[in-house]
């Protein structure tokens, strides 16, 4: 086993691509070290990307935000600009684990760990976030929902690293929100979760919407029918009812140690409805 700390993306990509055995990228380490501890993975090479220039920064650009792959969720919570524009995304990031874990964990790690219950992913999917990927073949950008392909699996090729998550600058009258259900008040993995992102017109009618659900299918679900239930309407009781019903119906959950199929179905609708209400209020809707 080797531990390296490259100073550039090129070096990191080269080392990863050239590594003969299994290689692991270390950013926050809150998933990697747990898997190593449990004996589920014994990498031959650990590539610590935190020394790479710019990877621990949140940059504001003309287009929006670029959140470096090694930015801790705690740091995201300290960015007033990000919090103002994308409160739902920040909320989701700040729900991962404890304060201690948030001091280390990253949304890129959360995405690449590819758990269907990852907290930040439904919020990122609802937000229409994109991942900037660097690899041996150069750079490419994909929507975040294209990264996880199943529990623990991603579409990243050998040698590819996500450099940053990109979030758009917000249109006026936009708001997002994320809610998850856990049995305790903290420290649990989401049993079911919902992210909602809305933009309203001047009359408070929903112009565009994205609704994503977590922990109810092998990957996070972007529920287009749920968005359709909201678009063109104010957030009245009928729209919310329809949203809840569509979300419950869209779930393909399993029974496991964290919850039952029935529970996840029912609560997915409840959370979508509550998150939509918050997002609507944040967008200035009344």
């Amino acid at each position: 086993m080797r531990y390296i700390r490259p100073l550039s993306m090129e070096d990191a990509v080269g080392q990863l691509a050239g590594s003969p055995g299994t290689a692991a990228i270390l950013a926050g380490g809150s998933d990697l070290l747990v898997r190593m501890k449990g004996g589920f993975i014994e990498p031959d090479l650990i590539v610590d990307i935190k020394a790479i220039d710019g990877l621990v920064e949140i940059r504001e650009t003309a287009e929006g935000f670029s959140i470096g792959a090694a930015v801790s969720c705690a740091l995201m919570g300290e960015s007033a600009a990000l919090m103002r524009e994308w409160p739902g995304v920040v909320e989701a990031a700040k729900l991962i684990g404890s304060k201690q874990v948030q001091g280390r964990c990253t949304i890129v790690g959360n995405l690449c760990n590819a758990s269907p219950a990852a907290d930040s992913v439904p919020a990122l999917v609802a937000a229409g976030a994109r991942a900037l990927i660097v690899g041996p073949a150069g750079r490419r950008t994909v929507v975040v929902e294209a990264v996880p392909t199943g529990p623990g699996k991603t579409s990243l090729a050998k040698g590819e690293i996500i450099e940053a998550i990109l979030l758009d600058r917000r249109a006026p009258r936009s708001g997002d929100a994320y809610l998850r259900f856990i049995p305790r008040t903290e420290m649990d993995i989401a049993v079911v979760s919902a992210g909602v992102n809305l933009t309203l017109d001047e009359q408070g009618v929903v112009k565009s919407a994205r609704v994503a659900l977590g922990a109810v299918a092998p990957t996070v679900l972007l529920v287009e029918e749920a968005a359709e239930a909201l678009i063109g309407r104010k957030l009245d009781e009928a729209a919310l009812e329809r949203l809840a019903k569509v979300c419950s119906g869209a779930c393909r959950p399993i029974d496991d140690k964290r919850g039952t199929i029935e529970f996840r179905r029912k609560v997915a609708g409840v959370l979508a409805r509550r998150a939509a209400t918050t997002a609507y209020a944040r967008a200035g809707g009344k």
Binding site: L26, G29, D48, A74, Q100, R104, T185, M187
Partner: protein, 158 residues
């Protein structure tokens, strides 16, 4: 497996050590440096007993590799008191009997110190959520919360 040489700062002192690439900072502190104040309650970031402060960030040392400490600042429970003068949090934990078995106590003290550094006047709810990453099985948290409240008021007055 090649060892990694690390030069770091622990509680203000320069420290050098050699560790394995897969060794956690918790293991380094406890087994190589004899700093056994941080405890391993789970090894997976779920209990907070191994809490330390790394470059002003509260982290679980079981989720940090020893190799990652290169060039950084590590603060542990062993550095909390100044000589024979206890930190107000330590003093208040004693006065309120905010510990029974005491194995979670170093982690709680470090987490509470970080909490008060960022929020000197927390509400009860802020304390409870701020310390949610530290498990205590003995006290029911009541006296811990009271000790932190009391320490906060003392530290504000100081």
């Amino acid at each position: 497996m090649a060892g990694v040489a690390v030069l770091t700062t622990i509680n203000g002192d320069n420290v050098e050590y050699l560790c394995q690439p897969d060794e956690t900072l918790l293991d380094v502190l406890r087994d190589r440096l004899g700093l056994t104040g941080a405890k391993e309650g789970c090894g997976t970031g779920d209990c907070g007993a191994c809490s330390i402060i790394l470059d002003d960030r509260l982290v679980c040392s079981c989720l940090v590799l020893g190799a990652e400490a290169e060039g950084r600042r590590v603060e542990t429970i062993e550095g909390m008191a100044h000589g024979d003068r206890l930190h107000p949090l330590q003093q208040k934990f004693l006065e309120h009997a905010a510990l029974q078995c005491g194995v979670c106590t170093p982690g709680f003290l470090i987490a509470a110190k970080d909490l008060l550094a960022k929020n000197p006047d927390p509400t009860e709810e802020e304390i409870r959520f701020g310390l949610a990453g530290n498990l205590c099985r003995c006290t029911g948290y009541d006296k811990i919360v009271r000790a932190v409240q009391d320490a906060a008021s003392v530290m504000k007055g100081a």
